[in-house]
């Protein structure tokens, strides 16, 4: 960690030295070409589409856990767990764009708080209060969202059996998934055109836009989001449990979904870069802008995204076991994602600033 930071700071001095003579307004000045096609595609067909998918999957998760309560079988438990994984995927693929309403409206803590407040959760379950969506909506983020649902579906050691569930746990899980879907719906509505329309705020950048006074400002927001998640995956999600040899710091440990989470974070970077999500998106993304300026850099970024995802998935066994049994694999993944982050910082962001 220290090494990479020193390296980054050193690199920053190089950039500073080269930027000293710039017009102070350069970073937000109007670019010469029109990048609204890219911004519109990213905003509508990548970001808003991801949130729509997230909300749909969250709805399926409510159905799956309701079915589990009504018919508690091992098969239905696995179906509920699969529905959790399928909801988790678009969320993780949204983490390269943690800007706008998700933070500004305080939605993120309702969806993805960690750690789970197990002490209070057990007290709530031992009590007699109605475990409705409304009740759970009013609880702190550490008593709801993905990780609380995950904890209840899998248990601390990922080995919970269908016979281990109490009726109140089923009720809590249902209320919790309904509350989660309330949050994902709020998020989708905040972006979509018929709601608060943040998607337009991002793509319709102009001097009277109070958020993004230029297309360059919008593009920097997108690229900074990509850089931020690379940093979090490399220096947080991978590095912290690994460096401290502490499995309790691992994200999505209960569900054994960590490697998938991390890879989906990098796929989120990929989606913004390539301008695609699932089968949607017209392909206009950061890549088309970079390719028009520096085809070699574009190829480098694409290759590094792929090698980062591959390195994460190549970590042997579960991430929980790998932090002790496959240090080389974990370190390789950290290195790959760090290199992607560096490429985005040093080259892609700089290219965007100089458009």
């Amino acid at each position: 960690m220290k090494t990479s930071i020193k390296f980054l700071l050193l690199a920053s001095f190089v950039f500073v030295a080269s930027s000293c003579n710039k017009d102070d307004d350069n970073a937000t000045s109007t670019p010469t070409a029109d990048y609204q096609p890219e911004l519109k595609n990213i905003s509508q067909l990548v970001i808003t589409a991801t949130y729509l998918n997230l909300n749909n999957e969250a709805g399926d998760l409510v159905s799956a856990v309701t079915n589990l309560k009504n018919n508690p079988t091992t098969v239905n438990l696995e179906a509920a767990r699969q529905a959790w994984r399928e909801t988790r995927l678009p969320w993780e693929q949204s983490e390269a764009f943690l800007f706008g309403p998700v933070e500004q409206q305080g939605i993120d803590p309702s969806i993805d708080s960690w750690p789970v407040n197990v002490t209070d959760l057990q007290n709530v379950l031992a009590g007699t209060g109605n475990l409705t969506k409304t009740y759970i909506d009013g609880l702190d983020g550490t008593l709801k969202g993905f990780h609380t649902i995950e904890f209840l579906l899998w248990g601390t050691n990922s080995n919970k059996l269908i016979g281990d569930f109490t009726n109140r746990e089923f009720e809590y899980i249902i209320g919790c998934t309904e509350s989660l879907q309330g949050a994902t719906l709020q998020l989708y509505n905040a972006w979509q055109a018929n709601g608060q329309n943040f998607e337009q705020i991002l793509y319709d950048a102009n001097s009277s836009n109070p958020y993004y006074p230029s297309q360059k400002a919008s593009l920097q927001e997108v690229v900074n989001g990509m850089i931020a998640i690379c940093n979090e995956v490399a220096n947080g999600k991978l590095f912290e449990p690994f460096s401290q040899q502490d499995i309790t710091l691992e994200e999505s440990r209960f569900s054994v979904n960590s490697k998938q989470d991390f890879a989906d974070n990098i796929r989120s970077v990929e989606n913004l870069y390539l301008g695609t999500f699932n089968s949607g998106g017209n392909g206009k993304g950061i890549s088309t802008i970079i390719a028009s300026k520096n085809a070699n850099l574009d190829a480098q970024v694409k290759a590094k995204i792929t090698s980062s995802i591959n390195a994460i998935m190549a970590i042997q066994g579960t991430f929980t076991s790998a932090i002790t049994s496959d240090p080389q694999g974990v370190q390789n993944a950290i290195d790959e994602v760090t290199e992607l982050q560096t490429l985005l910082q040093q080259n892609v962001l700089t290219t965007v600033i100089n458009l």
Binding site: L9, V16, D24, D25, S113, T119, D120, P210, N224, G236
Partner: protein, 458 residues
Amino acid sequence: MKNFIYIILASAFLSSCTKDDNEAESNTSSIDINSGGATTTLNSTSLAFEDPSANLNAIESDLHVRGNLAFEATFITAPATNNPGLGPLFNNTGCAACHVKNGRASYPTSSSDLGGLLIRVSMNGTDPHGGPLAYPGYGGQLQNRAVFGKAPEADVTLTEALQIKQFLDGTSYELREPIINLSNHYTPLTSGPMLISPRIAPPIIGLGLLEAISEQTLLAMADEADTNSDGISGKLNYVWDVQANSMKPGKFGWKAGQPNLTQQAAAAYVNDMGITNPLFTHENSVGQPQDDLTGDDPEINAQTLEEASFYTKSVAVPARRNTTNSVVMAGENIFRAAKCNACHRETITTSTLSGVPSVSNQTIHPYTDLLLHDMGPGLADNRPEFSATGTEWRTAPLWGIGLTRVVNGHSNFLHDGRARNLMEAIMWHGGEATNSVNYVKALSSTQRESLIKFLESL
């Protein structure tokens, strides 16, 4: 996952050039975009308040990274493996829960979720050091949330009264006054009237630079007796420093009630989150029926407190934008002509801060004097805090204020977030700012717009 590290070194690449050290303290801020001296970042995205200072050395960088982890941590009820100790009474579960994206909390959207707004309380009188006198059963701050099985101290209901006013050109504007009602108290109020003061979480940018301003520099700006008869009488607060065991200049908080960032962080841990620490080893409910009495204090150690407070000393200040725009420049002239800069000081040179070379000896543009000023009855909380009277507030720094919208998605300002935009914030000023407000009241709409554009460039 908010607990994980979130250092955006991207910004380091955008960091600004070191400014000319020989710049005199004068009206040169329009051409110096580096509001935070060499700490300044050129990032103007929603991550603009999350950059480390651009000039951290390797030791500072390492501390900043670990401090960020502490700042992002979410606390939960003990016993727990990770981050135990929340409450039993609290306002929020982590530093970043109020200081979202290191920025400014919005005015609450509903009374059921106060977010980054908390309420200080006290009774008439002062404590042995001249500070607010704790209200029996409640202490110095109302915790409106509690862990399972404990009761919030009271429910808070917020309503608003609207005042309709006019500029001299006949254009009307509205001021929104929050009215706070407490109900459902967990125990009756038996010690007379309760004094209350709502406080919104402010941005944490550039705080290390402010701590590095010397007492001598602050006193040189003070004019408590208004000897120059300009109607403005800045006063330095003196507050109790727990570690020094003596009175020291107050620099932090809306009424400058904290002497340094370590104590500021320690007080926030114990009062806002119920996290005991080496400076405050008793729960905020000590001596009250709801104290947890678990004997796990302090719930964070000295290292965590030091790292968290270091983080607040090492966050960059964003650079100004659009400084050469003619409207912005016209607005800057109005800002000066209205004498806003008599308190919102444009340029200050820092002294040294032990262990933080990045903030030492910097020429900065914080737009504050850190002094107390009478803001009139409209803004008064009528709750004194050490030397600060019930009508006095510390001049709020304005650096970074133009990025509030992109970072936090709102434009709520002042100590309780009552102002819905920058012009309302200006028009709420009274007391020592009366002449300045009257100046603004007489501006044309074009001039008013220029003034706002200038503020948005900060």
